[in-house]
């Protein structure tokens, strides 16, 4: 099959080459994600690399604004606009009271159907970006919108046009969302990793009619210029001196490496980094363990900035180190990223129970503490489960 690349990093691998002509794709995003950038990136790259033709239907950004966005991301829009390779179906300027720009202009949402059909006819074999489906739903109703999409997708299929829909999923009813999703060959969900504020973005292909999918979660960020960039998530392991961080990193990862030497301290201790990698339940991440001594605190911040979750390892028998643990939590911004307190050394007598530790550290009610004995290999999987549950709750 002749696949059209999406030019979104990793997405073409996940979709086995890209999207077949004539199919429809829905980018289904929770509020707070700039989901339209995905559509712009696909059409901009296809125009540039494949000499494709296409259009952008817009009811949220004016064509002038879209041009500025393309500029910011470093995608040329003027050349294809001038040559007619790309055009707008402008469904926003009339509502804003500014002069419309584009081959087609829609001054009444009820005229959307025929106008977009004309536009699809014009770009046989090309790509169309439709944004935003949410605005359509709340302007003409969900049923009418779904009728439109069905008609457009049929026409697109006939003309080998690839339809890319952008949808911000506000608080719509689940039943409506299900019906909507049914209309597309492929659905890609965009969501955030949150700990009171969203701080990381993820996309996942949840449905594709032409390829089997693995629901791999791909972390990404939007970079100007450049567009969607993926990165390998990092998990941070930190905690006070001699809490058992290195042993913990080795326990949760395959082939962990420790950069250490016999320091002047009483115990062999990490003065470099523990580096590992974990593949657990479809989730893949690099692990970084930091030294606990204060003189290495400068390492914490840059590592924490990249991290999507943190394990704070503490020695449950040493309440005098809890203040230091809390200081490290604050220092590594771990209040913003999901974290699990790993209450290690539970095998020793005098180890404090999680409730007791929570009280002593004066932690928020919802902070998770998992009792662990790394030495006895107890509770390790529970820590991974607990952290991934936090990371992926949506």
């Amino acid at each position: 099959m002749d696949m059209k690349k999406t030019y979104i990093p990793r997405l073409d691998d996940i979709l086995k080459g890209g999207t077949p002509p004539g199919t429809s794709v829905l980018f289904n995003a929770i509020p707070g994600m700039l989901c339209d950038i995905f559509g712009y990136q696909i059409i901009a790259q296809r125009i540039r690399n494949n000499k494709e033709i296409g259009f952008i239907y817009t009811n949220t950004r004016t064509p002038a604004e879209i041009s500025r966005v393309f500029d910011k991301y470093g995608w040329d829009i003027m050349t294809p606009l001038q040559s007619g390779q790309l055009f707008f179906v402008d469904s926003i300027s009339p509502m804003m009271g500014v002069p419309p720009i584009g081959k087609y202009c829609i001054d009444d949402f009820n005229k959307s159907k025929d106008t977009v059909l004309c536009a699809i006819n014009d770009i046989a074999g090309g790509t169309a970006v439709i944004e935003n489906v949410a605005t359509l739903i709340d302007s003409i109703g969900a049923n009418n919108t779904m009728e439109l999409i069905k008609t457009w997708n049929e026409a697109a299929n006939k003309h080998d046009v690839n339809m890319i829909y952008i949808f911000t999923r506000w608080d719509y009813e689940d039943r409506m969302i299900e019906q909507l999703i049914d209309l597309f060959n492929c659905e890609i969900e965009l969501f955030g990793i949150e700990e009171r504020v969203m701080y990381r973005q993820v996309y996942v292909v949840v449905k594709s009619s032409w390829s089997t999918i693995s629901r791999t979660k791909t972390f990404f960020e939007l970079v100007m210029p450049g567009g969607v960039k993926v990165f390998i998530p990092k998990l941070l392991v930190t905690g006070p001196y001699n809490a058992g961080k290195t042993a913990f990193v080795h326990a949760i990862s395959q082939d962990a490496v420790s950069v250490e030497r016999q320091a002047y301290e009483l115990f062999p201790t990490t003065v470099g980094l523990d580096i590992g990698h974990v593949d657990y339940k479809g989730f893949s991440a690099d692990i970084f363990g930091t030294p606990g001594q204060e003189r290495f605190d400068l390492l914490l911040e840059p590592l924490a900035r990249e991290a999507i979750g943190a394990f704070i390892v503490i020695d449950s028998t040493q309440p005098n180190t809890f203040a230091r643990a809390k200081e490290m939590i604050n220092m590594c911004r771990a209040e913003v990223i999901p974290k699990i307190i790993v209450a290690n050394k539970q095998d020793l007598s005098g180890a404090m129970r999680p409730e007791e530790i929570k009280k002593r550290m004066a932690l928020w009610e919802d902070v998770h503490i998992v009792p662990v004995s790394v030495k006895k290999n107890k509770g390790i999987n529970q820590t991974l489960n607990a952290l991934f549950d936090l990371i992926y709750r949506v």
Partner: protein, 229 residues
Amino acid sequence: MIQSTRSGIAGLDELIGGGFPNNTITLVYGPPKTGKSIFCYQFLHQAITDDEYCLYIMTDYNLPQLEETMMYFKWFIHDYFTKKQLYVMDIASGSIGSVQKETASFKISSPQNPTEIISEIIEELQSIFQKTHTFRSILDSATTLFAYNSPILMIRVLKSYTMRIKLAGSTGIITYTEGVVDSQIETMLKATVDNIVHMDGKKITVEAMMGCDHISANYKITDEGIIII
């Protein structure tokens, strides 16, 4: 005792037990020209006095205009903004292609693009949240957003907005001009907030707030702002 955030309106805080309950959102609504924006300026000025952070979302004026208007009341925000305690989201200049550069504490968005608005608010919340877990937020006003978007869509957006800023720890106000959308939408709007304050030009009424429903008092607008008389 419930922790509260002082409104900054002389006389009002005494009536409502010290201020707005922390981590709640208050709708300030009423007919045009009754002092809703001045309420916002005063709320912002109180943030400066109390050394708190503030996220200010403006839809009808830009930052220099806000600064100028507040100067009339002898409230100065320049240093506060420079110190990066004031986070601004300018939705007034968005669609015209403002030349101002966006920074961590200054974002521009367009009124008809709620997806972008919420996305940029989240970016600002990320920066604020690293510094504090209690801050003020002001949205002046929802009215403009209703004018540019389908009202039902706007209700969804405001729900998402209040959920986000409350999770991040904010105590906030949202202004709205009475009668701009139909009564059904107004009812939904009131359901997205915690407290409701009505201003009619003469009388300010707390229509809903935990523990102090239907308190009202007369007010006037002076060169020191809103004053309860």
